[in-house]
């Protein structure tokens, strides 16, 4: 939420994507978050993913709630409309926006306070409705803007900066999203851009409710010993099940994969995801298996990351509602209003 404008000039030789946009065209204002904040790395990953996908920046609507994470949409895609709504209510506003115009790309940015506490219900219901969106939670386990209170994703037994021990059980948003029927579920780490960028790109290409839980350490209030959301802790306990490459456009990047190590997933928008297996037994098309796998590893204190579940043939809310292909916000009286002759008939039926 900065008022500091970012200089627009850039090196003339800067690389351009398919649409002729440079990386800079996907940037926003200068971040006002703390230096070293994990959220800024996620911002950079979103910029990178949108550049790689050659998305027209103004065709994205970025919607957030309240909190540090929810400020970040001001720091990327400066030519997109953004909406910093009210605390915990990003999902409903995004749902409404999506109903009004199905042609835009919807990026929902939220935090753990926003999605696991005050907006837990809205998170759940937008997922179960299958809203076509990319829902990113920038998860740091604390309330940053109000200076370090535990959030609902803080693990039981983890310590606050002031030394208090969290006695409440943690909410695992990934487990919940899987249970509620999200059709694209991933977890990543803000410190692992090479994993995060293709995950965001793949989520944007997915039609349906995509959910990414990004562990994003809070440099100011949750990066100490005893925290389970610190940079050191997450690096030590990160258990990636796969890495992925997103192949887009007519000229996919030629990558050679050793046979048997890669699973190709074709997405609704024509893009392909090449999933490089790390854990040979992990099947990202098995919702039940994913849930069991996550719980087993969580019990061992491991943080499972990667693309955890994807259903490439998913349906979205518009299909459930059978809405017209034309965005509803472009319809006018000539198609929406039944007219006076119909009204006369209606009146006649009420006498």
């Amino acid at each position: 939420m900065t008022y500091i404008a970012k200089p627009k000039f850039h090196h003339p030789g800067l690389k351009k994507n398919e649409l002729g946009y440079t990386h800079r065209d996907y940037e926003g204002k200068i971040s006002t978050l703390c230096a070293g904040c994990g959220h800024d790395s996620i911002t950079a990953s979103i910029i990178e993913a949108c550049y790689e996908l050659s998305i027209e920046p103004h065709r994205v609507a970025k919607i957030s709630g309240i909190g540090c994470s929810s400020k970040t949409p001001d720091y990327f895609l400066g030519n997109s409309h953004g909406f910093n709504t009210v605390h915990g209510r990003m999902p409903s506003v995004l749902t409404g926006a999506n109903l009004a115009n199905r042609d835009l790309i919807y990026l929902g940015v939220s935090g753990d306070g926003d999605s696991a506490s005050i907006g837990f219900g809205q998170f759940a219901h937008s997922i179960r409705r299958g809203v076509n969106m990319t829902y990113i939670v920038e998860n740091n386990g604390v309330y940053g803007l109000t200076k370090g209170q535990f959030s609902a994703t803080a693990d039981r037994g983890s310590k606050s900066k002031k030394g208090a021990t969290n006695t409440d059980n943690a909410i695992d948003l990934v487990a919940i999203a899987l249970q509620l029927g999200a059709t694209f579920v991933a977890r990543s780490f803000s410190g692992d851009k090479s994993q995060l960028v293709p995950l965001i790109a793949a989520a944007i290409g997915h039609k349906g409710a995509s959910f990414i839980d990004v562990i994003s350490p809070c440099i100011a209030f949750n990066n100490h010993a005893g925290s389970t959301k610190s940079f050191d802790y997450v690096r030590e306990h990160n258990d990636a099940v796969n890495r992925l490459d997103v192949l887009v456009g007519r000229d996919p990047i030629a990558v050679d994969y050793a046979p048997g190590t890669v699973q190709m997933v074709e997405q609704h928008d024509g893009s392909k995801i090449a999933l490089r297996k790390i854990d040979a037994d992990y099947d990202p098309h098995d919702r039940l298996g994913a849930q069991t796998f996550l719980q087993k590893h969580a019990a061992k204190g491991q943080i499972v990351t990667g693309l955890l579940y994807v259903d490439p043939d998913a349906e979205d809310l518009h299909e459930h509602l059978n809405t017209v292909e034309t965005p509803l916000n472009t319809l006018e009286a000539d198609t929406l209003c039944p007219g006076s002759a119909m009204l006369d008939k209606f009146n006649a039926s009420l006498r």
């Binding site: 919607i63 001001d74 709504t85 409903s92 926006a97 009204l343 006498r351």
Partner: protein, 615 residues
């Protein structure tokens, strides 16, 4: 029988049905009301129902009114007492000289009756049980049998009821003929065994005209269809649920593409009222016309978003079907009790536009207009209905639509305008009316985007905590609210025959009772000028009306005279000159109540000279 003479009246009486909720009586009772309409005689029915699905008492009251008085009258001339639970209260409520209709299958002790009324016993259960074996059939046909008996007692034309049955069961021959049979079972028994007709009679007339018979919620929902609403998000709550249900039904009929079958609308049942208004705000931000329907508790939950709509300037339409509060209050009883809650909803300095339709016809018009107003003013518009209008069938003028009408989408800057080099400041007042331009998301690759937020910002939507920038914006919002005054429906004034220093202000569902009360007051010699308020912010004519009269009564259906408070607050009026007339027991206000309250005050004024009273 005492010497009290039985009431004798043609086309002017009240019949009240006392039933058990869930017994299937509603459709028979409604058919009774419709049958009288078919005689060309206006009726005004009211459902008095519990917050319950089955078992609790429910009443249906039909005022038969040749003169077209559509407000509740008060008092009962004939009680159709079908509910043993409420027998004592029901019998006690009959006017002296009135009639009691009951099921005489089981003998009742004489202490259960009154000697100043006419008691009419029909062995309904005995007739039903000797004809039908299936328990559900017995239950349902019993209702039609009493309808048949009543048709004889009230001298109604059975052909007109048969016609209604024919329309209701069109294509279902078996149901049709069995219902007609049941009707005649009751009618024939009454003709053979009772003195028919009673003193209460229905006589064919021509007072209904081309008027229609419709519930306010259905009319408001149709107004949303005609007004171009494409997104509806709602959470079930009495008495508003039937708005969304009617919108669904109307859309199924009018809003599917004939070729593809696809829907030109989206309806979401939210997980709560917060989500419902959030969906509305999101859709409206993105350029669709969206609304929600709710009642008091829902308004309480929505207030944070309503503040966002006010401050970030996002259109929204909220239909508030008011019920008796506070808290859960009386969920199935009517009141006009959310005036203050809606006018100033949310924290901080806020003011919102309210529309007050008087009946279903105006609910249709105002619902459609609400979407134009919301987009023109870029803020929340409340359509303030109540249970009395929303959930009762009301006789009203036919709904009208002008096919030449285009929607007013308000100030929207397009890609072409941006390319022409127009200066776009999301919160920039370019026309002096306080209303800035907005852009829809996705308009232009490099121009016109902005970051919408509930935090303070400057005219170009840039975050700012500067005091002067904040104040500048708040003043513009006030200017915008002043602009609204001339866009909303104006008050309607009707003056007394002779010049008078007394006036009365009223609104919404009070209207039919007020119109009738004026007549009652005139017979007592009281002349009153009337002003029906149809919207907030108040038009300047409200201030003029107040200035022209020494005393103005403000008639409303809440305890705290909320509209009066709003008038005093917004016009800086001496409160002593505004006399509150309040009715708030959850029943609809009656002409008798208003006439008595105003008449008593007027009589009092005549005893004490006015100058002394106010000095």
């Amino acid at each position: 029988m005492s010497d009290k003479k039985p009431i004798s009246s043609v086309n002017d009486f009240v019949v009240r049905f006392a039933n058990v909720n869930g017994s299937g009586s509603a459709s028979a009772n409604e058919m009774f009301a419709r049958a009288i309409l078919r005689h060309g005689v206006p009726v005004s029915p009211r459902n008095i129902f519990p917050s319950n699905i089955q078992g609790l008492p429910t009443w249906y009251e039909v005022r038969v009114t040749e003169h077209g008085h559509l407000g509740a009258r008060g008092g009962v001339d004939m009680m159709v007492a079908m509910n043993p639970q409420t027998w004592d209260k029901d019998v006690a409520g009959i006017e002296p000289g009135g009639y009691l209709f009951y099921d005489s299958t089981k003998p009742m002790p004489s202490t259960k009756f009154r000697d100043d009324i006419t008691v009419i016993g029909v062995p309904l259960t005995a007739i039903t049980n000797s004809t039908y074996t299936d328990p559900r059939q017995r239950q349902l046909f019993k209702n039609i049998i009493y309808l048949g008996a009543l048709s004889a007692l009230l001298d109604m034309d059975p052909k007109l009821i048969e016609q209604l049955i024919g329309e209701q069961y069109k294509g279902k021959e078996k149901l049709l003929s069995s219902n007609v049979h049941a009707l005649h079972l009751g009618r024939d028994w009454a003709l053979q065994n009772l003195k028919c007709p009673t003193g209460l009679r229905v006589k064919k007339s021509d007072k209904v005209g081309d008027r229609i018979f419709i519930e306010g919620n259905s009319a408001a929902a149709l107004g949303a269809v005609y007004g171009g609403a494409t997104v509806c998000a709602w959470y079930p709550i009495t008495p508003s649920s039937s708005v969304a249900e009617a919108f669904t039904a109307h859309c199924k009929k009018y809003r599917h593409d004939p070729d593809t079958g696809k829907a030109k609308y989206a309806i979401v049942q939210g997980e709560d009222e917060l989500a419902s208004i959030g969906i509305v705000i999101g859709a409206s931000w993105n350029g669709a016309r969206a609304f929600t329907a709710t009642s008091g508790p829902g308004i309480s939950l929505m207030t944070e978003f309503i503040g966002l709509s006010y401050f970030a300037e996002i259109p929204a339409v909220i239909m508030n079907i008011q019920r008796a509060g506070p808290s859960t209050g009386m969920p199935t009883r009517t009141q006009q009790c959310d005036i203050i809650a809606c006018a100033y909803a949310s924290h901080g300095d806020t003011k919102h536009v309210l529309l007050f339709p008087e009946d279903p016809a105006e609910a249709f018009e105002f619902a459609a207009a609400a979407f134009d107003l919301a987009e023109r003013l870029q803020t929340t518009i409340f359509l303030m209905l109540d249970l009395d209008i929303g959930m009762n069938h009301r006789l009203c003028r036919p709904l009208k639509w002008d096919d030449a009408k285009q929607y007013d989408r308000g100030k929207v800057m397009t890609a072409e305008m941006l390319d022409e080099g127009r200066d776009f400041g999301r919160y920039l007042d370019v026309d002096g009316d306080g209303i800035p331009y907005r852009t829809y998301p996705g308009t232009h690759p490099t121009k016109g985007s902005y970051f919408t937020r509930g935090t303070s910002r400057d005219r170009y939507a840039r975050y700012s905590e500067e005091g002067s920038v904040y104040a500048d914006n708040m003043q513009r919002l006030m200017r915008k609210f002043e602009t609204a005054q001339d866009l909303v429906p104006r008050p309607l004034q009707a003056n007394a025959e002779r010049p008078t220093k007394y006036g009365v202000i009223y609104f919404g569902s009070t209207t039919p009772a007020m119109d009738e009360a004026i007549g009652l007051l005139e017979t007592r010699g009281h002349q009153l000028d009337r002003l029906r308020i149809r919207a907030f912010p108040f038009h300047s004519s409200v201030a003029s009306f107040l200035a022209e009269h020494d005393f103005v009564y403000v008639v409303e259906q809440n305890r705290d005279s909320q509209l009066r408070q709003l008038i005093v607050n917004e016009n800086g009026i001496d409160p002593v000159r505004l006399v509150p007339i309040v009715h708030y027991d959850g029943s609809p206000i009656t002409a008798r109540f208003i006439a008595k309250a105003i008449g008593d005050h007027q009589d009092h004024l005549k005893v004490t000279p006015l100058r002394k009273a106010v000095s």
